[in-house]
């Protein structure tokens, strides 16, 4: 039982990352009918921006100029990095995707791959081929709850991710921009006919997705404080899987699918030899897709790309 609960805690944290990254992926995929293969790398950029901001704030704090407690630095780091990373997302949209909005989807997809490579190599050129260590902003405290070990960081990560997911959900359900996003996901061609500027919505979609990726990147840095320029690739692919698994146009679906993938990976490794983890985990996901080809909440959809 202890064994099970320990893995449940592990899976919650791991799933949070998949869910957060999948959200941004799913938003772009749903709203713009675009596989944003650069999203994993935006997550990486977000983590590095977070690293830069946090290191700067720690230095500022240490110099005595502005003494801040660690949690305050973390909050500021998250907010500032979200802001900065959203610009990266908007630039990617403007430079990489907008010129290709009416191009074949395959062209737009390889654009994502290329932008991803550019972000990775850009990082290499800027910082060199070394891994950086994310500054420990909060003192790690481990609680032993009847044999199950939980750290304050884990609790924080899960809660922060869940609140951002909830905030996004409310934004999409309750605001007119959120409404416009849902409308675009359904039929983006007619959206301008209601006086809604498509480009603004597209930019906003990228900005929000990137900001969430930045949050994921920083939380990742808190949990796994070793960053490297290629850390986003695997996450990009897995978020892609989660976005499809969740179903096109469903934020809830992407969130659930992200958590589910975290759970599957952790629990498969719990039951089977860890060498077989990915093989078994992704066979399960493949099986789910065979029975639900449109994902959990996706509906059969025929893209009408013209009026």
């Amino acid at each position: 039982m202890v064994f099970f609960f320990q893995n449940l805690i592990n899976a919650l944290q791991w799933g949070s990352f998949y869910a957060m990254i999948a959200l941004g992926y799913s938003m772009v995929y749903s709203i713009l009918m675009l596989f944003n293969f650069a999203h994993g790398d935006i997550f990486m950029v977000g983590a590095y921006i977070g690293f830069g901001v946090a290191t700067g704030l720690v230095a500022l704090s240490a110099s005595g100029f502005l003494a801040l407690p660690g949690w305050m630095i973390l909050v500021l780091t998250i907010l500032l990095s979200m802001f900065l990373t959203s610009f990266v997302g908007m630039i990617v949209e403007r430079v990489g995707y907008r010129p290709l909005r009416d191009a074949p989807r395959a062209s737009a997809a390889i654009t994502g791959l290329m932008i991803g490579i550019m972000l990775e190599t850009g990082n290499l050129i800027l910082l060199g081929a070394r891994r950086v260590s994310f500054p420990p902003l909060i003192e790690s405290v481990t609680y032993n709850v009847g044999g199950v070990f939980v750290t304050n960081k884990k609790i924080m990560i899960v809660l922060v991710s869940l609140s951002f997911m909830l905030a996004l959900h409310l934004f999409v359900q309750k605001t007119r921009y959120g409404m416009a996003m849902r409308a675009m996901a359904f039929d983006y061609v007619v959206v301008p006919l209601l006086g809604i500027p498509i480009n603004t919505i597209a930019r906003l979609t990228f900005a929000i997705g990137s900001a969430l990726a930045a949050v994921a990147g920083i939380l990742f840095g808190v949990a796994y404080p070793v960053l490297d320029p290629y850390m986003g690739i695997v996450f990009g692919w897995k978020a892609f899987v989660a976005a499809i698994l969740g179903g096109r146009g469903s934020i809830m679906g992407a969130t659930l699918a992200g958590f589910l993938m975290g759970f599957i990976e952790i629990f498969v490794a719990m039951v089977f030899p860890s060498t077989l983890r990915d093989l078994i985990a992704y066979s399960i996901i493949l099986l789910i897709l065979v029975f639900r080809p449109h994902g959990f909440f996706g509906e059969p959809y025929s893209a009408r790309l013209r009026l």
Binding site: R176, F186, L193, G195, R304
Partner: protein, 237 residues
């Protein structure tokens, strides 16, 4: 003139869809364009709402403003030209109310938006019963009402309607057109394209006949109804 168009040319790749149309619409009018399938009716509406690119030489002005300088969303939000596309194209994943609210996306005048919303629901009382229902679950007639209501809110100095009668039972068709007449009486100018030529001409004041991308006839709607050529070609003899 509210809308004046000269030499409207549109091509889809190598295929020429419109070969230089000239027409005008005055404020408060109801005008229809009739023609066979593929004559270029829908393309004409798309050109006005800037959803398809036009060729050089085309001139389109709306209340003296150059339409060609505006992107599609500004045509709606700045000039008040709304467009009910063929097949209605509602957002089926949004509720009826959300579809209507979304139509006011670019508008800031809250009181006026609420007034318009109420007005739509008085014109189409059936929508009021379905406000929190997903638009995808509506019947064909209700969908048409919602599409018109949406256009009413997003802008109605000029409303472009693409086949409003399509797929509707005759009785529903009449009630939709009655509603449109009511909207017109309140000041909205209407340009509609229809395959149902008789209905369109009876409803309109003026009409244009489009054939293979060219205006072949135009004039008073009642006169077109009696025109022998129109009769044989579009009114079933």
């Amino acid at each position: 003139m509210l809308l004046s168009i000269q030499d409207l040319r549109v091509s889809y790749g190598r295929i020429k869809a419109l070969h230089g149309l000239d027409f005008e619409i005055a404020d408060g009018e109801i005008v229809c364009i009739i023609g066979a399938n593929g004559a270029g009716k829908s393309t004409t509406l798309r050109a006005i709402s800037r959803m398809v690119p036009v060729e050089d030489g085309t001139r389109m002005t709306f209340m003296g403003q150059d339409l060609l300088k505006l992107p599609p969303e500004k045509v709606v939000s700045q000039l008040g030209i709304s467009h009910v596309p063929e097949g209605r194209r509602l957002f089926g994943n949004l509720t009826v109310l959300e579809n209507l609210q979304l139509a006011a996306f670019a508008r800031k005048d809250k009181d006026a938006i609420n007034r318009d919303l109420k007005r739509v629901l008085t014109i189409f009382p059936r929508l009021e019963e379905r406000l929190i229902q997903k638009a995808g679950t509506l019947s064909g007639g209700e969908q048409q009402m919602l599409a018109i209501g949406r256009a009413f809110i997003s802008g109605r100095r000029l409303m472009l309607l693409d086949e409003p009668s399509m797929g509707l039972a005759p009785l529903l068709m009449l009630s939709v057109f009655d509603a449109l007449r009511e909207i017109n009486a309140e000041g909205a100018t209407i340009l509609l394209v229809e395959q149902n030529a008789r209905l369109a001409l009876q409803f309109s004041q003026r009409g244009y006949v489009l054939e293979n991308g060219e205006m072949v006839l135009q004039g008073d709607a009642k006169k077109l109804l009696d025109d022998p050529a129109v009769k044989t070609a579009y009114l079933g003899g």
